[in-house]
Symmetry: D2
Subunit: 248 residues, 4 copies
């Protein structure tokens, strides 16, 4: 039984996490804190792992306290840059045995899609990304699409791949999508959709398509629980859920 | 047995048409003309229908001659504007019983896709188009995608549909595709593809997708033969293969 | 303002309908009845249209009463056979001006998919259906898939289409799906899915795919409201929502 | 420059290989042998690598000769069982430095699809396979689909995954596809298709789809050339092109 506490327990992701922890056979929800609650309740409850879905302004304070008290952390809060990660690494050095996972995306499917896309990238002359979301989304392309494009571009550079063929010489603005690190990315917005992405690879006579469809926030919980189960045996800082997937 | 002649018989579409006519059980290829051949060979051979895949500079002369001699025509040559169509109508009035089909697209599948898209348009809040082609294509979006967008936009206007929802306020140029008559169109270019298009409709809790994949020029022949078989009983000018499809 | 009453208002579809009627600008919910409530409340409330999502055992009684009192009905309750439909026709003859719509499927998208499939059927040598649902579904293939197959088979027969090519001579049981009226139907069951269907048409060098994805019961409400708005002007019996779609 | 010879050079795959080798900048075609030609021509031409697309009856003789003369081999000929592989291993022990690649599938895309499917298998409750081919194919399901199912089943067993959920209790024979090692496999046959496969994974609220579309035999050549380039540095026996893909 892993004793788990949730920070930001009243938020959308936090409350979903509370439910998921309670439903998991190998986990026990020992504390559910939100704004105004004292962190000392974590130690009182004997929490081994904290799941943090709070806000950029408070997450560093939360983590400093947890690391100091030897509590592992699985963090979905956004806003981590190199400076923050460096700070965490220093704090973790002083608390050997404690682990922190910082993950921008807890969807195992999205992480698999990105990993597979990076693996396939070197084998195809062409690649493009189509992301499809509900029409209330304010940014285009999506963060996942941008990150996927960057991973693909990096893999192509490492493999010495040339530029992607494109003879377009006439047309309408925007028809060929956005350019993210040399990769074309198209954002579709459609009522009825939630969050979806397709990565299309093509070469002479064949194409390979990797598609992820995410319909519910609930789908992130498998990733959160994977993080909880693995962080207890993974001291130090881990950035990205992909490090906890076995892709051999 | 319909006696068919082909003009532009040495071109890609023309030679394919010759083969298709010869293979059809109810058609007979009686003449295959190309640049420099005399049109009188059409009457000598007793041609009932001419299939014209020539060039904009010569097609009007070909058609004037055919209409005058009471030979029906199925025309895939491009470059028809309202003025040319008016000229043909006048010529056809003087030759009652003769029929001419002008078609920009002989792919029955593409025509069905466009018709279905126009029919579905009024029932969905959201709609976008993704066209996908080989990377040697010079224009984006494709002519078929533009035409589909126009048909959808027209159907939405007729139905009094409001504007399509889109909360995008931040992002990269081009991420949301090109705007064709208020419809977002995305052009993908990928080695290994030929000519493909997806029309995506979405409303609360559901989506409808119509996709056409065209792999070979051979796929246009069913449409050419449909035109040949129907034009013999359809006097006057017909613009668009959709008029020969039974969509009741 | 159309005055609408709901029968079976506490059921899943009924309660959804109550919400949809209340949200619609041109409709007013005047009564929400369930088991044990008196039908006289319908006339007291001045209901013009009743939406019936009850049970096969009670629906015929409900409809007899409504027709007698000149209240139109939109019916999603199941269990209608030819005998029941004949009974309704007789009752409606005695109440000219009253309309009843019996619909097995209120998903406009599903109805469009079926109509488009029937229209495309005559133009393609090959056709197969893939339906995909959540793994808790007890029947395979789905009712919608069966109905789609029947419509396609009928359209092919009318067009004099030959049998669908299939050289399969060796393999595993079930690999080629179920046979519904000569059409191959495949049922996929996958956690994370709701209700989806793809109809694939193929001929030399091209394929046409029509796909419908249904994610929420909410998506049926557009069809229910369409039924309500149209039934007030459509006296007599109408079987199938497709008759209220404009597909010209 | 790698000096390459082709055995079975007049066959479909062999002649395609000759063209691909000639087109490759780092390879030179030094011999193209077919039935009746002497293997001594291989040494005369200085062949470093042989590509064998012959027949099961002759391939073991070809390989024995090549291994004896220190010529590496890339083999697409079918019919290898454990006994034959054991024979090759023994022969290769006597010729250290010589490498032989036996590959059932030279499509890099198909191999990637299978590898990704095996990697994803442990993370999803549900999985099914849909393979889609032209209607002249005699077996169903395809060999690639069977192999994919076996790899997925193996990965699930290793991960201790339970059985796949399926509540189907009523329906038509074949509706749920064929059972390959506990994995449901559906075979679609459609005019206009070539060789395609989709692997669908599903879990609460999300799905992951990996699709490979193969349109031309030409698409196998990238895999053949990869084999040629890697086998010169890979002594001993390698079974399966996946060992030459970098999937880290």
């Amino acid at each position: 039984m892993i004793k788990v506490a949730v920070l930001g327990a009243k938020g959308k992701m936090g409350s979903q996490t509370c439910q998921a922890v309670e439903a998991a056979e190998d986990c026990e929800l020992v504390a559910a804190l939100d704004q105004g609650d004292e962190l000392t309740r974590l130690t009182e409850a004997g929490a081994q792992v904290v799941v943090d879905f709070t806000r950029p302004e408070v997450v560093m304070g939360n983590l400093a306290w947890c690391i100091e008290h030897g509590i592992h952390a699985v963090v979905g809060t956004t806003g981590f840059d190199e400076e923050r990660l460096a700070t965490l690494r220093t704090q973790l050095e002083a608390s050997p045995g404690t682990g922190v996972l910082i993950a921008a995306n807890f969807s195992i499917g999205a992480v698999l899609m990105m990993q597979f896309a990076a693996q396939a990238a070197r084998y195809y002359e062409s690649v493009e990304i189509i992301e499809l979301h509900h029409p209330d989304k304010v940014d285009a392309p999506s963060g996942t699409a941008r990150r996927t494009a960057e991973l693909i571009a990096e893999a192509r550079r490492e493999a010495g791949a040339g530029s992607i063929p494109d003879a377009t010489s006439t047309g309408l603005d925007g028809a060929r999508g956005a350019d993210v690190d040399g990769i074309r990315v198209h954002g579709v917005r459609l009522r009825g959709l939630v969050a979806h992405q397709e990565v299309l690879f093509g070469d002479t006579g064949e194409t390979l398509t990797i598609r992820h469809d995410s319909m519910h926030r609930e789908s992130f919980m498998a990733g959160v629980l994977l993080g909880v189960r693995r962080i207890v045996d993974t001291p130090g800082l881990t950035v990205g859920l992909e490090h906890f997937l076995d892709l051999s």
